[in-house]
Amino acid sequence: MSSALTSTVLYDTPGPRARARYRAFGVLSLLGIAALLWYAYDSLAGAGQFAAAMWDPFQYTAIQQRILDGLQSTLTAFGLAAVLSLALGSLLAAGQLSDHRPVRAVAKAIVQFFRAMPLLIMIFAFYHSVFATSPLWALVTGLTLYNGAVQAEIIRSGVNAVPRGQGEAAYALGMRKTQVLFTILVPQAVRSMLPTIIGQLVVTLKDTSLGFLITYTELLYAGKLIASNTSTPNGYPYIPVTIVIGVIYIGMCLALTALAKWLEARGRRGANRRTTAAA
């Protein structure tokens, strides 16, 4: 957050000699980066990856439609998983904060178990056992269970970070447990943890690409279909497809991250200065 601060404290304000040295380093590293980029460009061009025929397919409406369909499937899985994991997360967080020991123990066990399981294994297990005909639901169930457990931990730590006085004041006003939790603690917790929650949503979005491995026709799978069905004089356009799909994914994730950053900046401003450390 205060990277500007540290990056200036790690070295003195450069004098004339240091400036010259930094400039020399700068030129050297620029040369190194340029060499790296040129090497990448050269090997791509050498393999004919920049040939017009490689990129032509992206002008066809059928191919564009396929990418859009893939994108839509990705967003469907993401939307379902996001909503369901947040719901499950709130439920499990409420369970972990319960006054009843058995409820607490069960919620804690569920959270620990699903946080520790490899997501891919869960998705495959669901695909092979329950949702053999519907990879979408295998993917969404796996994503929901894993991310729900993580969101539960985030929400719980947010609730615990709300100052004790808030809950005590609410009890003093005669509110019941549920009222205190849902009208006093959770709104404040969600506000302070929103950047972290969105950060986890970015992970959810990225993990939808695991659907590729269970033949769910999401973005990456659509890309593979395009690449393996288009024959050009220079071979199949796997690299152009990877670049296009990668740009789409990075764009979506950066947009979500930007939203989180904006919310964080908004939350810091004004009366609500309390920020909790990211988990």
Partner: protein
């Protein structure tokens, strides 16, 4: 549940398990080295290196791991880069995890008190010495917690390699499924093995934390 101990399954399972451990360990090593280098780039006085580090982290942190594996497995051979699928997996997993290591280390650098770097500078240390001898060792100690979650996630992520023709633990699943065993018992043992790896990593970090934690 007893399928693990029937006709030669155990040897298959053990081979997959060892491959997973090897893959995770090598990727962890690559991620640690590359991540530290990137963190140094991101706080360095040279703008070109800072930009390089930032771009690397933003690209690799926002790319799904499956896409990275896809790019490495289908893309690199087309550029006449030919390695075994194991090496490809190490490259993909290592460079992906490196971006997370870099961000964790960088947040650790922010927790080191300003006086430390100032004292180092006033002793006449240059940037490399300040960072390498004074700041990074303290930063690494203070971020052992977040670092442990990065390295606990690594073996779990390595399961994706199994789908890209590395014969590790997860791909054992395919073989066993073909042999017609009960799905649930296969996944029971797989889950147990991955949980074991995660637990070992967690214990290692717990030990490191108790030995190295800084009392402030």
């Amino acid at each position: 549940m007893g399928i693990l101990f029937e006709d030669g399954n155990f040897a298959l399972f053990r081979a997959g398990f060892l491959q997973t451990v090897e893959l995770s360990a090598l990727s962890a090593l690559l991620a640690l080295l590359l991540g530290t280098l990137l963190a140094a780039f991101r706080v360095s006085p040279v703008p070109a290196l800072r930009v390089f580090g930032t771009v690397w982290v933003n690209v690799f942190r926002n790319t799904p791991l499956t896409l990275l594996f896809f790019a490495v497995a289908f893309g690199l051979p087309r550029l006449d880069v030919h390695f075994s699928s194991f090496v490809f997996a190490v490259i993909a997993l290592g460079s992906y995890t490196a971006s997370f290591v870099c961000e964790v280390l960088r947040s650790g650098i922010n927790t080191v008190p300003l006086g430390q770097a100032e004292a180092a500078r006033s002793l006449g240390m240059n940037f490399g010495q300040t960072l390498g001898l004074i700041v990074l060792p303290q930063a690494a100690r203070s971020v052992l917690g977040p670092m442990s979650s990065v390295f606990i996630a690594l073996p779990r992520n390595s399961a994706v390699a199994g789908a890209f023709s590395v014969s590790e633990l997860f791909s054992v699943q395919g073989t066993l499924t073909e042999r017609g065993y009960n799905i649930l018992s296969i996944f029971f043992w797989l889950a147990a093995a991955y949980l074991l790896v995660s637990a070992v990593v967690a214990v290692i970090f717990r030990l490191l934390e108790t030995r190295l934690a800084v009392a402030r």
